[in-house]
């Protein structure tokens, strides 16, 4: 009879040196086959050509705190455009000596948002902290009380405006979108068709036209003397627009729920509201976290469209610095700076959604 086990039982052999460690990794990831080896070499060549000049331009030859005239003589990047104008880029026409107010408001907002990352912190007291924070932020921005000079919303601009439009726009649009999605599934035909018409109408037009309508056409229907600040009108347009997209994503999640979950909830006597709140939505919303975050990210970037209704958001204040003759032509540096700010916003959203998904999937 043949022996199937030739080694001594229990003997464990090490894998060959070429398949583990650094050599193994390089071999299996960078040089596995002639095509991948070629790609690796081409990519390395590309990095070698691109990265050193980029570093030289951005850091070694760059100038950081000079006038525009000096910049023109320099070989590298002119970060002076940011250093000299960052207060205007960040805060727009907010009175110069009062700009500590939006700065503190932003810090409060970022602090609250950061602390909200951990769902264990979502207590009643933290809810009160949010409300107090919002009131304080509103007071800092608007002023007019306790000796703080009043600042009209028309003077708000830059980063506070971008954050205001996106944070409030998205947090209001999300629940509205969920309600629309539920409405679209309603058994009552009136509610269902209202939601369908709303969603399809809004999705059928670009955000720009909604912004136009809200700022130029909508006021025509208002009675004489009634006027909403244009920031509020832009905010409403962003909310209405984003909610329609979120509604469709959430509807996808709702359709992914099995009939059995509804039946189990109903059979223990839960009513519609409790069935949705306790059973269906927690599962459906979890499924659609990735597409929802995609929509929120793109809505965040789309807030820059408010430029067309003469609001001075972050992008617009940057552009206006570029139209100053002293700084004309340094658009690369200016746009890289705003891009970094937008990237930080988008990346933290994406990062948070990944964290949330991981936490929720650990549950089952």
């Amino acid at each position: 009879m043949e022996a199937y086990v030739q080694q001594k039982p229990g003997e464990v052999l090490k894998p060959p040196v070429t398949s583990v460690g650094v050599i193994g990794w390089v071999k299996s990831n960078l040089f596995n086959g002639w095509f991948n080896s070629l790609l690796t070499i081409v990519t390395l060549y590309f990095f070698w050509k691109v990265i050193p000049p980029l570093v030289r331009w951005a850091f070694i030859d760059s100038v950081w705190n000079t006038t525009g005239a000096v910049c023109r003589g320099a070989d590298g990047a002119c970060w002076s455009i940011i250093a000299t104008n960052f207060r205007f880029i960040l805060f727009g026409f907010f009175p110069y000596d009062q700009q500590w107010r939006p700065l503190i408001a932003i810090l409060i907002l970022c602090g609250l948002l950061f602390y909200s990352r951990d769902r264990n912190h979502w207590t009643k007291h933290f809810g009160y902290a949010w409300i107090i924070g919002l009131v304080v932020m509103g007071f800092l921005m608007r002023g007019g009380l306790f000796g703080l000079p009043s600042v009209e919303p028309t003077q708000w601009g830059g980063l506070p405006l971008t954050l205001l439009l996106s944070v409030f726009g998205l947090t209001i649009a999300y629940p509205l979108g969920v309600i629309l999605a539920l409405g679209r599934q309603s058994k009552l035909p009136v509610i269902k068709w209202l939601c369908v018409v709303y969603i399809e109408l809004i999705r059928g037009v670009p955000l720009i036209s909604l912004l136009f309508m809200s700022s130029f056409i909508f006021p025509l229907f208002l009675p004489e003397g009634v006027n909403f600040p244009s920031i509020l009108r832009a905010l409403v347009a962003i909310i209405l627009f984003t909610a329609a997209y979120i509604a469709e994503v959430v509807r996808g999640g709702l359709q992914g729920m099995s009939r059995g979950q509804y039946e189990a909830a109903e059979s223990i006597g839960l009513n519609y509201y409790l069935t949705m709140r306790l059973i269906i939505l927690p599962q459906a919303l979890k499924i659609v976290i990735p597409p929802t975050v995609s929509i929120l990210i793109s809505a965040f970037k789309d807030t820059s469209l408010v430029v067309i209704i003469a609001l001075w958001d972050l992008l617009k204040t940057t552009q206006s610095v570029l139209s100053n003759p002293e700084w004309m032509g340094f658009s690369r540096e200016a746009y890289i700076f705003v891009a970094i700010l937008y990237f930080l916003g988008c990346f933290s959203m994406a990062n948070y959604s990944r964290k949330l998904e991981k936490e929720l999937s650990r549950e089952n």
Binding site: E263, G269, L274, E363
Partner: protein, 258 residues
Amino acid sequence: MSEETAKSNEIQPIAEPMIEIKDMHKWFGDFHVLRGIDLTILKKERIVICGPSGSGKSTLIRCINRLEEHQRGQIVVDGIELTNNIKNIEKIRAEVGMVFQHFNLFPHLNIVDNLALGPIWVRKVPKKQAEETAMYYLEKVHIAEQARKYPGQLSGGQQQRVAIARSLCMSPKVMLFDEPTSALDPEMIKEVLDVMIELAREGMTMIVVTHEMGFAKSVAHRVLFMDFGQIVEGNTPEEFFENPQHDRTKLFLSQILH
């Protein structure tokens, strides 16, 4: 099948109706699923419904807690007639427990939360007390050690026992079982049937749609045979299996009792 059966410690039905169904019809579109059902179920009575697939037996018990709506006739559960009145429907659903073929546990909640949800939100029981009740019923279905796990971590038989416990937490007056063992691997069927037998021994009113004829013989007061949306025959298990009256019943029994 367990040798000690519910019969050994007999609880007889009380002569008061729990559920009364009169000339009830239901259609799915043009398809006439239930064609004139007349059935009275007494308190503490245990009924097994069998029949070929598509005969309407699941639809019948789903009408009792209004997961399906009947279009003609009358269904009265514990003195309340099922109409479009949503408050009445919710009241009846809280009194009628239902166990599904595919368990339908809530995957995002752990086992205790699955059980305590109904008492907390429907019966307004304080959370702590609801969790104690949940643990009591988990002990009862021999699964208390899994209390903090999630449904996805349990086997099919365990999930079905949890589902039974979830219904019991609402202290229902009737339990409906819709093919509770059909989706289980063979080695898990017994653990679920044993829990159902224990329940029978305690005098629960039960309506069970199943193909487990051993269970029917040992537990049921009455076995009903349904075909083409009608109750063809209903009798005590002894008579039903020894002496079936209708040809269709005979044919069905010959097919399943080989």
